[in-house]
Symmetry: C2
Subunit: 360 residues, 2 copies
Amino acid sequence: MTVVYNFSAGPATLPGTVLNRAREELLDWHGSGMSVMEMSHRGKEFMSIAQQAEADLRELLVIPADYHVLFLQGGATSQFSMVPMNLLRGRQQADYINTGAWSKKAIAEARRYCSVNLAASSEDSNFTTVPPVDNWQLDPAAAYVHYTPNETIGGVEFDAIPETGAVPLVADMSSTILSRPLDVSRYGLIYAGAQKNIGPAGLTVVIVRNELVGEVLDGTPSMFNYQLHAENGSMLNTPPTFAWYLAGLVFQWIREQGGLEAMAEVNQRKAGRLYEAIDRSDFYNSPVDLRYRSWMNVPFTLADDSLDAEFLIQAGNTGLLNLKGHRSVGGMRASIYNAMPEAGVSALIDFMAEFERSRG
Amino acid sequence: MTVVYNFSAGPATLPGTVLNRAREELLDWHGSGMSVMEMSHRGKEFMSIAQQAEADLRELLVIPADYHVLFLQGGATSQFSMVPMNLLRGRQQADYINTGAWSKKAIAEARRYCSVNLAASSEDSNFTTVPPVDNWQLDPAAAYVHYTPNETIGGVEFDAIPETGAVPLVADMSSTILSRPLDVSRYGLIYAGAQKNIGPAGLTVVIVRNELVGEVLDGTPSMFNYQLHAENGSMLNTPPTFAWYLAGLVFQWIREQGGLEAMAEVNQRKAGRLYEAIDRSDFYNSPVDLRYRSWMNVPFTLADDSLDAEFLIQAGNTGLLNLKGHRSVGGMRASIYNAMPEAGVSALIDFMAEFERSRG
C-alpha cells in the first residue's frame, strides 16, 4: 500500500483506524449479513448506529438537552439558505461578519432572503486577520449574527466566541468543529459539512437550540425546514446512511483519543510546529495575523513563487499530497485536521527544510 | 460471513462484486494511497471517477447530448420542491398523476409552489392500478406533467410512457431507473434517489433537458437551482463523493451484465417467477392489477394475516430479510431490484412454499 499524507482541505484524510474498521465491516456489519449501505434506515441495525452516533456527538461536545442534533445532506452551501429561511422568524435583517471566502458565500445567499447588515469585515486586510469584536456594528434588531469561526481558504480562525447578547449566534464550523472543546450553549445554531473533521462528504451536522426552529419563510422547501427534520429524527427522507455511520466511527475514534481536550492538545502542537517551521525561515511565509492563525488550515507562501510548481511536484513525489493553495490566494495550504497524524506534520516540516536547503 | 437475501425497499442490497471492489479499494484507490472518501473532489483522481460514472450512465441510458446529468444530494424529497421551483418557468400550474404514496408526497410539496391539476388518480382503486392514460385530464397550459412510473410502496408500475405532447414529462424513477432500457428523449426531466438501483443513499441523479433549466422561482436556494449545478459539473459545492463512486461501480457492473436489455430480461424473469408463486396459491395474494405489477417491488398478503408475524420471523431465520410490507399497506413486500440475484428470488419462493406446507 502506498503511504501518503493527504493535506486536502476537504474531503480530507480520515483516521486510519476508522477506515480499517469500515473496511472490516463493509460486507457484513456485526453479523447482520448486510453492508451498512444496504440497511433500511428504519431497521433496528441502522437505528442503533444512528442513535449511537448522535449520543457520542452529544457527549463529545457536551450538547445541552434543549438542542436538536440533525444529520442532514447538502453541505454548508445548503445551510447558507436554510439559516435565513428558518431563523429570520419574521425579522427582516441579520448580522453577518465577513472574514473570507466562506463568509462571503454565506452573505451572498442570505441577501436573497433578508437585509444583511455587514457588522464587520476584514476584507481591507485581505482577510489575514479577524475584525476586532469591540468594533462590530451589531444591530439589536437582527434575527441572528452569522460568522465563520475558521476560514478554510484564508486560514484565519477566531480565538474566542463573540458576545452577541440576546441575538442568537450562528456559526459555520465546517473546518473547526471537534478540533477542541466548545461551549455549545453560547450558540443558537452551529452547522458543519462533514468532509473535514467529521467524516465523508455528503453529510452535514446541524446543532440548533430547539426554541429557534418552527417558523420558516414562505416557499421554504420541506427539506430546508429544520423543524420537520427534528420531528422526524433526521429521517424526513432517507438519510445518507453510510456517511452517518462513518461519522459515528469518527466520533468513537475521538473518544478513544481522549475526547476534545486531547484533540485540542495535539492540534495545537501540530499547528504550532508547522507555523514555527514557516516563521523561522525567510524562504517560507505565513500571511496570517499571529493571533488568528488557524489550527486546521495553514496557508503559506514561498518567497520565490517561481519555485511553487517544483515544491508541489517534489512534495507529491515524497507522498505529501494536495498542498496547493486555493487558487484565490495562491501558494500552499496544509490542512491538518484531527485525522492528520503528527507524523504527517513532521514529514511536511522535514520536506520543507530539505527543499529550502536544496533551493534556498 | 452470514449469507442473507435483503429485500429492503431502499436502501437496498448492492451487487456483491461492487461491494467487494469497494472493499478492496477502500484504503487505497488505484495506488493513490487515499480512500475515495479522502480525495479532494476537484483532484484528478476523483474527477476521473466522476466523469467515468457520468459517461457510463449516459451510455447505459443512451442519454441524448442535450440533457444534463446531475449528481446531487437530498433525495427525491428535495426533487419534489426542485421540480416546481425550476420547471414552472412563469407558468402557474402543473399536472400531477396520483398513483400512490410517493405521488402524493410530490403533489403535496408542489401545491406549495403552484396550482396542481390532478390530471388522474387511482386512489379509488386503493392504488392497485394505474389510471388509464386515455382518461387523463391534462391541462395544455401546464408547465409539466409529473408522474411516478413505479410506486415503491404499492408495487404499481406503468407499462408504457404516457404521451403528453408539447408539455414536458417529469418522472420520479427512484425505484425503476436502470431496471430496463428507457427512451430518455421522451422526458423533460427524470430524477431518482440512488438507494434502490443506483448505489448508496445520499446521492440523487437528475437527467434534464438543457432547455428546461435556467429560470427559477424567487427565493429558490442556490442548491435547488439545476442551472447552477449544471454550470458547475455537479460541484457547486462538495458532492457526495463516495456515493458517486459507488454509483459508478454499479454502472460498470450493469455494463458487465450486458447492459439494460440484459437487466430487463433478468428482472422480468425474477418478477414473473415470484408473481407466479403468489398466484398459484390461495395462501398468498397480490392485490395489484396484473397489467401494472411492478418488476421491482412485489407486495403480497397472506390469506390469514394472523400468520404474518410468524412468516416474517421464519423468513428472517432463513436469511430472508426485510420482507415486512410498508405500514400503510400491511402484508409483505419483496423488493427485487437489479442487485437481487435470481438465487434470492428462488430462496424466497422455496421458503413461501415451505411455509404454506407447514401452515396452510
